[in-house]
Amino acid sequence: MKSIQHFIDIWPGNFALQIIYLLSSITFIVGLKRLSSPDRARQGNLLAAAGMGLAILGTIFLHRSPISPDGSEGFRPIGNLVWIFGGIGLGTVLGWMMAMRVKMTAMPQMVSFFNGMGGACAALIGLIEYRGLSAHGGTADTGFLLIIYLGVWIGSVSFAGSMIAYGKLEERIKDFGGRSLQMVNLLFLGALVAAMAFGIAQPDAVPALPWIVAAGSLVYGVLFVLPIGGADMPVVISLLNSFTGIAAALGGFLYNNQVMLTGGILVGSAGTILTILMCQAMNRSLLNVLIGSFGGKGGAASATGEQVVKEISATDAAILCAYAQRVSIVPGYGLAVAQAQHTCHEFEKQLSEKGVEVTYAIHPVAGRMPGHMNVLLAEADVAYPKMLEMEDANPQMPNTDVVIVIGANDVVNPAAESDPSSPIYGMPIIHVDKARNVIVMKRSMGKGYAGIENQLFFGKNTRMLFGDAKSSLEKLVAEVKAL
């Protein structure tokens, strides 16, 4: 207790800083809580942002570190202010520009990118701390080293993994490798853990070891994400998001900094739960996502013999919809790719004017991230109550006259329920095959992200409307207008 009193005597500002950290921690908790209700989500985000700003400014101006461990030689303030403000200025301008310019359809990869930045930041902190430690020839205690190594490891994996996830969602990086690569990964991971254990047990043996661990972790991050199917990237991003949270919390241990610890762990645990929720939505376990190589197994459920699909013209499709009582729209990634959300809303409005009851049926993992479709449709001003979640949409399917599937594939594939050999067997789907008519908008007969055939396209109620989702919808809008 004496040292605490001493600390306050020398630097009263520390008390103010701790209060600021406390307030910031509260804004993070309340902010996160509000982010889970549609009405107050935006408020929650702004609240957390304000808390973050407060914590950053408080740290810059009020933080003091003891020169010697017990603080007997006094305390020193944050130096290098020019560098710090320069870095914050540069980061703010860059971050703001990127965040404002990114299209709504590219949101998931943007989140992945920013997540990677946080991971890299955490890894760098560990590396610099280790440098400072060896420069002073200080006695490295085990706990301190453990935290540094864990921070470097988790931060680097999160950074490299996020960048690969980013590349995959941008469709610049293809799925690569399979189970054999997974085995290599396990060995690699074992080697990394062994290296860290050695570094902690023999701190002076290999001075460059943290750098080697960092480099190895970057490679591991790449190898870890490469074989995971592109369709599973949302789960991976969520998982890496919680990794970065844990890396940030480790920084909290390093500096005895409560706000880093609270913020980091909140995200670490909330991110883990979110990851599990996403896996549940696909009716799979996290392990299955990570080692299942979902995307790699093309044609596991190959169709028997030649099958013919029936096409429908835009005119016929428009008539079918306009004279229906109830129409349900099932959006998927194709809608996002074609940037067709506004045209889709336009079409929905026109049908509503004709007295058709139009709703959207949204699969939790449609698109490239849970809620991806909701964000897109919200951008196009679609009313919130019109977006039905899968559980609410499915019971209505038998009473639905027309289902329009726009660029969705795996989430409406009946094989998920009927074919135990299918890689997506067990995933809950939207039962569009129960509806009276199904119109599938698709660019071509290509397979979905999971690379498997879809029997729905050959169903007796199904008609295909080939073409880019946006131009097809534009044609439909024109046709309905002309009726």
């Binding site: 549609p38 810059i60 980061g91 971050g95 990114v102 709504m104 946080g118 760098l124």
Partner: protein
Amino acid sequence: MEPIIAFFLEHQNFIFLLVLAVFLGVEVIANVPAVLHTPLMSGANAIHGVVIIGSIIVMGHAEPGDYLSLVLGFLAVVLGTLNVVGGFVVTNRMLEMFRKKTR
């Protein structure tokens, strides 16, 4: 075993805080509707930007002549800021769209 006990005793309060925060994180998220998964992930992403505080501290105590640490620290501050600013702005952009509808 001894270092572990020493570590635990030294960081007792932090370890309690850690365990409680884990449960808090789970509880806070438990009832989130699927529509908000993306903004929530994005908002959480911005919050782990607190790591920037570590980069400020490490930067603030780097020796002025130690250029490697300065450059790495500068990089860490820039990346941390990207995480914070980008994260909150992207989340805000997503949520602005929801707000219009829920009025």
